[in-house]
Symmetry: C2
Subunit: 414 residues, 2 copies
């Protein structure tokens, strides 16, 4: 079965927003074992939207449209799709009630007559509830065996709706369901990781294996086609086991939603440990990343941003001699920053980062991209030197991930 994506919205054509929905849908569709050969974007224009839908239906079995379901006159996706499918729009009583309830809960005063437009649905369409907004999702079946799925544009609405209702629906359409597991790996480079599974990728049939490179991480999606989840799990198990044999404890999770920082916060919780941070070039981004994990308050009490040499001495107790002899960007300073931060915060573990993010401040001996990470865990300090080759933003992002990775390596050795 082939699927095609149409993103609707003039804001995409004007470059006002980056189309992250297309990437999200594309990744999930691939994970469901469906083939997607075309993505397109059109504006809020009736004629061009109609052309785009007709073209998509002519070459694909299923068309997923995102956006254009809002309450304003500009929002045309439902109206135009209904026209293409030859369906009238009728009011859906359940959706109308839900919109009313939503407004009572969120901002009762702002309901306008426009909002009732969102309760209109193409006759015979399946309504998919939106738990995070007013526009319902819609599934339309055409007489020619073609299907259109209409989803709201806001990422915080489309993602939960897709996971909850659309993915299971797509699975039911296929002779066999498609199930997948995500195996997330850190502490290894992308090309090295891919080389290590080249034979598995060449030999793949069912399950299949696909690598996704993220900043400082590699995610492997294992996908199996089977009549039910249990059978799929049995098919995937040997592949996941094989990945564990090759990557060992470099695998930090096999859960789709778990991030590296969440895995680390969980590790700290398990070990009843706290962590702190002392940052120079990353200037708070490392702490900010740890605190992305909703439960971080259990393991993190305080942290330090020490940009100046003075602050490294004052807040962390880095010695003036070390700063003078080795410089602020050195393994020695990183080590003293980590130890000093743990001391000052009374934490069991500490990460420090000091480096030259760029664009200025580099020298022949210490070029832009040179970063030292210090990691204190229960009395021991480890330091690592990195040389990143990106711009300021990339160098700081990589420094954050590498620091987290070093901490994780130390924690799993305990």
């Amino acid at each position: 079965m082939t699927v095609e994506l149409i993103s609707v919205g003039t804001e995409i054509l004007l470059g006002n927003i980056v189309n992250t929905n297309a990437a999200f849908l594309a990744e999930r569709i691939a994970a469901l074992g469906l083939s997607c050969y075309h993505q397109s974007a059109v504006g809020d224009n009736e004629e061009r939207l109609e052309d785009a839908i007709r073209l998509a239906l002519s070459r694909s079995d299923l068309v997923i449209l995102s956006g254009g379901l809002g309450p304003t006159k500009d929002d045309l996706t439902k109206e135009v799709t209904a026209k293409v499918f030859g369906k009238k729009l009728v009011e859906d009583a359940h959706t109308k009630e839900r919109i009313q309830a939503y407004f009572e809960r969120i901002h009762s005063s702002k309901i306008t007559s426009n909002n009732w437009k969102q309760a209109l649905i193409p006759e015979g369409a399946t309504v998919v509830e939106n738990h995070n907004g007013t526009a319902p999702g819609l599934i339309l079946d055409g007489e020619n065996g073609k299907t259109a799925i209409l989803l709201p544009g806001p990422p915080n609405e489309i993602k939960p709706m897709f996971e909850r209702d659309i993915a299971p629906f797509l699975n039911r359409l296929q002779p066999e369901g498609i199930y997948s597991k995500m195996v997330k790996v850190c502490s290894i480079g992308e090309s090295r990781a891919e080389t290590m599974v080249a034979d598995l990728m060449d030999a793949q049939t069912n399950p299949t294996l696909a690598p996704y490179a993220k900043t400082g991480e590699v995610h492997f999606r294992v996908t199996a086609a089977a009549e039910d989840e249990e059978t799929a799990d049995a098919l995937m198990e040997p592949m996941v086991k094989e990945l564990y044999e090759r990557f060992g404890d470099k695998i930090y999770t096999t859960e789709e939603e778990v991030t590296l920082e969440e895995a680390i916060v969980e590790l700290l919780k398990e070990k009843s440990m706290t962590v702190t941070t002392a940052e120079s070039c990353t200037g708070g981004l490392l702490a900010g990343r740890i605190m992305n994990a909703a439960g971080a308050s259990a393991v993190y009490n305080e942290g330090y941003i020490t940009y100046s040499n003075d602050s490294k001495e004052k807040l962390l107790g880095v010695s003036g001699d070390t700063l003078e002899k080795y410089g602020a960007v050195s393994a020695e300073t990183a080590a003293e920053m980590a130890r000093g931060a743990a001391n000052a915060a009374g934490a069991d573990a500490a990460l420090s980062v000091t480096g030259i993010a760029g664009p200025d401040g580099g020298s022949k001996e210490k070029p832009v991209g040179l970063v030292y990470v210090g990691c204190f865990v229960k009395g021991r300090v480890r330091t690592e030197e990195f040389l990143f080759t990106g711009n300021r933003e990339k160098n700081r992002d990589y420094a954050v991930v590498r620091a987290l990775t070093v901490l994780r390596e130390e924690l799993i050795c305990l």
Copy 2:
């Protein structure tokens, strides 16, 4: 003239990467006054790529293809476009030399016979130099008056190539050149800002005015068509002046590249002031954002992440009474955090953030999304209360921008 974008690459269809190039090109094309009604993405597949190019040429005057210019067999954009335009591929001596020189400079050992594929160009094509990689850009004119522009996929190659050579080329295609200025506004909501210029937008002809909503900011692009830059400037000047009359010092820059944090770092430098930060729910993101500005080290020495109540007392001197009486998430605590941070760091200004980012931790009195910002400037503290309605990530992003905005408001009053 209508322009259409085709992004080439299976990694886009699989959702492996987010298509930021499309957003970049779309925004720049709109800024050049060109109309773009279609964006599409296709994989590294000869037949579908050919169909996509033919379809695009049938409905638009100019097609910009990005990606698929690499050295591997999968990279087909040049070959397929040449076929559609009926051109042979011939070796371009200058490009061959450039590739040789590039490899000598960057990684001389890795040059392979594949790389010479990148020196082949469609007969008669204009070669656009790539200063950041090996694949040249190409401009092909067809007999039917249609044009194709081929650009490399990596963002760090396509962006400078577009700015340096493609934007001027597109300008030359038009009877008049298109010039624009960006007027960036903060301290005001998007819908309010748009309402304030509704009449200007209705009346627009030359120059035109287009709003772009960013998190906590609104950017207005003023665009004029004129035979030269001087004439365009003269056309844009009254509009920019009008925007200054309406938004006053809410305009923080009229420079395309200047960010809010850079504008604030500049303000602090001008006033020879330093700043520090004390963060609870944003956990370092505010400091990290200030340090995005490459020159931040001149105004920022140290900062504090104070997640626990203990750390607020210990590092910032917030009184236990205040924490007990008003709670950690309160205007009173935010005020003491800001004053305490300025004291501890010996800084002239300080920003504090304390709030409930979610998803947990909210109550009826203090719901998720409630955030207090404290701003200390030369002895005076101002606090602001916000209620954000996004998820954890969005709430923290907005808290950071609002805090920066409050600091800027205080600084410009000095």
